[in-house]
Each structure stands twice: as C-alpha cells, then as structure tokens.
C-alpha cells in the first residue's frame, strides 16, 4: 500500500491489537483460512504477509510497486516481487492462490475494475480493504467545508495524493455486482480500525464506517 510506505502514521496504523499488529490487518487475517496460499497485492513493507505467516501459517507471496518496499520485504525473507497491480496481475495464472488480498490499495489503482477481475481470476477468494468515501466526516468536509476531505486516514493534500479512485461502500458493492463477485463477508471499521460489529443496514455502514473490508468470491 503506497500510503504505508510514506511514513505518515495514520490512525489506522496507530491502532494496534494486543500482539502489536494493526487492527485492520488482524481483521483481514481473520478472513484467511489457515495454511492457505495467499497473494498480497500492494504489500508495502510486508507487515500483513508476516502476520499471516505467523498467525495463520499461510504460504504468502507479494507484489509491491515501490522498490524500497520490495527490498525491505525480500530482506525479511518474504517472497515479494516488484510490480504494478494495474499491469502485472495478468502474469499470474488462473487459480494460483486461495486468497488474493488488496489492502488499502484499491483507491490508488488506475483500473480498479480490471484489478478486481484479475484478483478473482487468480484467487478463489479476494479480500479488499479500502477507505469509505461515504463516511459522515468526509461528507461534512465537502458539504460544509467545500473542500476535498483530509482525515487522519486520508492525510494527503489533493494535489499530492496517490489515491485517485475513491469510492463509498455503496459504490464498492455496485462494482461487485458489475464484475459478478459474491460478497461473502463484509466488515466496516471505525476511524480507529475497530470493527462495527452489529447488524445494521448498508446505508448505516456507508455513513459510519471509515474503512471497509470485504471477502469476495466468484459468483459461479
């Protein structure tokens, strides 16, 4: 994830569980079956891959755009290659993985639909986490402030941001319909990366969730 490589410590990054791991990554990890084969697209410094290897015993691989991130991962002994999620996912064969994870990277891709489609071709399941642009705080900044939102989770100025494809939870659900993905599970996280764990309609989550994590699979 690009925003992880730039060293701004967002609230999500600061929110850590008892073991010291980021809460949102723990949630992603919970969705992965133990011992699975996993590809982390936009794996940053390899924190998620390390967590998955330690807590779920997965066979993990990664692909990351930034050279520093890749070299850091490889120096940690992780199987990570340098590559671009937009262009290099076509290199992977069908059904190569049990899970393909895209955490906090969707909004930085040039072709989100193609990326999701490749993910579900390459892996039996996809796990996508992204910041929800429909969160009430963001709506308020646009509505009342009249400017592009800046939050602790989205700290960049609009002219200096790697994030080019924002979406709301509602928008993401629509994309899933378009590509024919089945939404197996969905969790909304508040600003501190804690799960909103109660039954509520989608519009509620669209308003209150700062981030969302979706577990997807192929519809057929």
């Amino acid at each position: 994830m690009l925003s992880r490589i730039r060293h701004d410590l967002t609230m999500a990054e600061a929110a850590r569980g008892p073991g010291g791991a980021r809460v949102d990554l723990l949630l992603v990890a919970e969705m992965v079956a133990p011992g699975a084969k996993v590809l982390d697209v936009g794996c940053g410094d390899g924190e998620l891959l390390r967590l998955l290897a330690e807590s779920r015993g997965v066979d993990g691989r990664g692909i990351e755009l930034s050279r520093e991130g890749v070299n850091e991962c490889v120096a940690k002994g992780l199987a990570v290659i340098q590559g671009d999620a937009d262009t290099d996912l076509s290199d992977y064969p069908n059904d190569a993985f049990d899970y393909v994870i895209l955490s906090q990277t969707l909004q930085a891709t040039r072709h989100p639909r193609i990326v999701i489609e490749h993910m579900l071709r390459i892996g039996r399941h996809g796990i996508v986490s992204f910041p929800n642009f429909g969160h009430w705080g963001i709506r308020l900044q646009l509505l009342l402030g009249g400017h592009m939102p800046r939050t602790d989770n989205l700290p960049y100025a609009w002219w200096d941001s790697p994030n080019i494809h924002f979406c709301t939870i509602k928008d993401f659900r629509q994309l899933c319909h378009v590509v024919g993905a089945k939404m197996e599970k969905a969790v909304a996280l508040n600003a501190w990366g804690r799960a909103l764990r109660f039954n509520a309609p989608w519009w509620f989550w669209n308003l209150l969730g700062e981030q969302a994590v979706f577990l997807l699979s192929r519809r057929n």
Binding site: D59, R61, R67, V70, N71, C73, V74, A75, K76, G77, L78, A79, V80, I81, Q82, D91, Y92, P93, A96
Partner: protein
C-alpha cells in the same frame, strides 16, 4: 595499435601451469567416468578444480554452490594464486558476510572450458601432451552444470541449500534449476538472463574477432609456437569491460579528465584517464586468462537459451519447481537489464514457483554485483535467512 602498458608483471608459465596443476582442490575423473557433452562427445578423462570454505554439517544440508562469471574462477574468497589479488566475491562470501562461511559450506568450482584448473582448451590433451587448443570440444552452460553435478556427487552432496551467481554464473544457476530442480533448495540468479540477446552476442563476437585477428593467435596454436595473442585479448577485454560499466559511472569516475597531463598530446597515447584505465584492465587481464578459454566461454554464453529446450516456452523450464528463487537486477545494468530478470520472474510465476525479485538502484552497471552494494547484501542475507529457517539450518 596499443603500445606500452602491456607490462609483463606475472610469469606466463605460472598461469599455464595452473591449467593442469591448479593451486586449489582438484578432483580427477578417469576414463571410466566421462562427461557427456551437449556436442555429442564424451570428455574423459577430465578434472575439476574448486575451492571450499566453511564446514559441511552432519545433515549435509548447508552446502552453497557459487558459480563464477566469464572471467572469474574458483578463488571466490581467497587470495588469487596467480594475481595475488583478493577473491572476486569477498564482499559477498566470507565469515559473517551475506553468504556466511561460518554457517554454510561454500563450494566454488572453476567452470568447464576455463583455464584455472578445470579441463579446458588450456589444459593438456592426454593424447598429444600439448594443450587442447581448438581441438577442445565446444561446451555449453549445461555441460558446465553437468560437470558440477559430478563434483557434488563426488563430494557426497545430494541437495544444495543454495546456488548463487551473477552474469554467466547466474546462467549456471538457472540451468541448475532447470536441469536438477530436486537438488536445489534455493537459488540466487543475479544480474543475468535466460538467454543471451542479439546485442550480447554481438559484443562477444567483437571480442572473439579481436583475439582471432591477433597474428599471434595462430589459429589457437599459440602455445606450440611460443606466442600469445595478448594484444587481441586485451582489446577484447577492453570492449567487454565497457559493457560491464555504465555511462554515468564512467563519467563520474573519469569524465573527460586527462591522465597525468595538462593538455592533450595530439597523439594516440592514453591521454584520457578512461583510456589509461581501460588499457590497464586489458593488460592485467591477459596475465591471468587464456585466449582460447575466452573464445570457448563467450561461445557458451551465446548458445545459452533456457527456453529453447522447452519449445520456446520459458515457463515450462520451471514448471512445478520446488526451488525458492530470489532474482536480483540492477538499474544501470544495460548488459543484462532488469527486463531480462522480469521475464525470468514472469516465467517463474507462471510455473507456480516461490519468487522474490528485487531491482537495486545503482549507477555501477553490470559490475555492481561484484562491488560494495549494501542493499544487495541485505537482500541476499534476508533471503538466505528465510530459506535457512525453512530448511531447518540452525544458527
């Protein structure tokens, strides 16, 4: 023509003796154990010269094979017996280095066709008693690897913890993984490719023509005539050496600066520092390397094409491989550019292999893998540590 600067610092007889009686470990294979060559010829008897560092553990699971490049040899981490210079990869291999000789048992053989003790055109032909010269059969990278496998059988090592090498050494690493995947636990192909490009072949051809154009080459029989195509080989080396550097590095090191003079002499002297540097590279090379070996080894690199053995589909070479790979390239390497490593990674991914791939930012060109590159060492160290944990090698 080149003048002075081809000073004879070393005894040529000393170098020639190394070809048959190397100052390193040697294993001699008799007529009963021939090496089957791709050219369809059985080479027997033959010998392999090699060096080892460190200790093989009880489980025989910590062996590391280092494959040297075109002008390298087995003296990877010890003083060279002919040039008295440090080993060619002392930055990478040694106690506490990324390839730690206190932890791993490191083996570096001289390749088939070379001139530092393994059988090649400079070695004595047992039938004639004279060096083989151009009677030596054409050898390939696959032949080199086949010979190395025989060496490992002799040493009683069934499975290698890792194989590492750059350039031509990297080609051997990849060939090992294609030929003996079950014997290789992890692989480090550095600054290399799965085949020599047309441009690479072109540069080697220029080098070979320089050697063969030297009147002292005598169609490879210079040993019989008591001559030595030193000028041709020096020119070949100068040309090749330029491809090992980068434009930026050459400019940074030498620019247009003059060598020991204020003004140009308006002659063909080595006026520029870069000229003086290249002449030195050429002259020091011919002291330790055999001209015919140069021809044979450059040819082997030109013939190398891993995909050719699998109907042109590179991914097939690595299908279902159990080996873990760490592919490394350098940004300013224009001889084996990153695009080649990417193609290798692509094929490995398609074959389902476990791959790491890192591109290191440097302006030192192709030679960077031999030099002080902290990021390179961190990556190799990290990769090997991860592999060692999985293999169960204790600290």
């Amino acid at each position: 023509m080149i003048e002075a600067g081809l000073g004879v610092a070393l005894d040529p007889a000393e170098r020639e003796r190394e070809a048959d009686f190397p100052r390193s470990l040697v294993v001699r294979f008799g007529i009963d154990r021939p090496l089957r060559l791709d050219a369809g010829i059985d080479l027997a008897p033959f010998q392999i010269a090699y060096q080892t560092y460190g200790t093989l553990n009880a489980a025989r699971s910590n062996a590391v094979l280092i494959c040297h490049a075109l002008t390298g040899d087995q003296h990877v981490a010890n003083l060279h017996p002919v040039t008295h210079k440090p080993g060619w990869w002392e930055t990478m291999v040694g106690p506490g280095r990324a390839i730690d000789t206190e932890r791993y048992f490191v083996i570096c053989p001289n390749v088939l066709g070379a001139c530092m003790g393994t059988t090649g055109p400079a070695s004595s032909n047992p039938v004639t008693g004279m060096p083989w010269g151009l009677d030596f059969p054409m050898i390939t990278i696959r032949d080199m690897v086949r010979a190395q496998a025989m060496l490992l059988d002799h040493l009683g090592i069934a499975s290698l913890f890792t194989i590492a090498g750059g350039s031509m050494g990297g080609m051997q690493v990849l060939q090992w993984c294609a030929s003996y995947p079950q014997r290789v636990f992890s692989a480090l192909p550095i600054a290399t490719s799965t085949r020599h490009s047309a441009q690479n072949i072109a540069f080697h051809e220029v080098g070979r023509q320089a050697v063969m154009a030297d009147p002292e080459w005598r169609h490879g029989r210079y040993f019989a005539d008591g001559t030595n195509p030193r000028r041709g080989l020096a020119v070949a080396r100068m040309g090749n050496h330029i491809t090992y550097l980068s434009d930026a590095a050459l400019h940074r090191k030498f620019g247009r600066r003059f060598q020991d003079r204020e003004n140009p002499t308006f002659s063909f002297d080595a006026d520029f520092q870069v000229e003086s540097y290249l002449r030195h590279q050429g002259s020091s090379f011919v002291e330790r390397f055999d001209a015919n070996s140069y021809l044979y080894l450059t040819r082997a690199m030109d013939y190398f094409d891993l995909a050719a053995d699998c109907d042109g589909v590179l991914a097939k070479a690595f299908k279902d491989t159990p080996t873990r790979f760490c592919v490394i390239s350098f940004t300013s390497d224009w001889l084996f550019p990153t695009s080649e490593s990417r193609a290798t990674v692509h094929a490995l991914n398609a074959g389902g292999a476990r791959v790491s791939f890192a591109e290191i930012v440097t302006d030192k060109g192709h030679d960077a893998f031999l030099l002080d590159e902290p990021e390179l060492f961190a990556i190799v160290r990290g990769f090997l540590e991860g592999a060692a944990r999985t293999r169960g090698l204790d600290r």
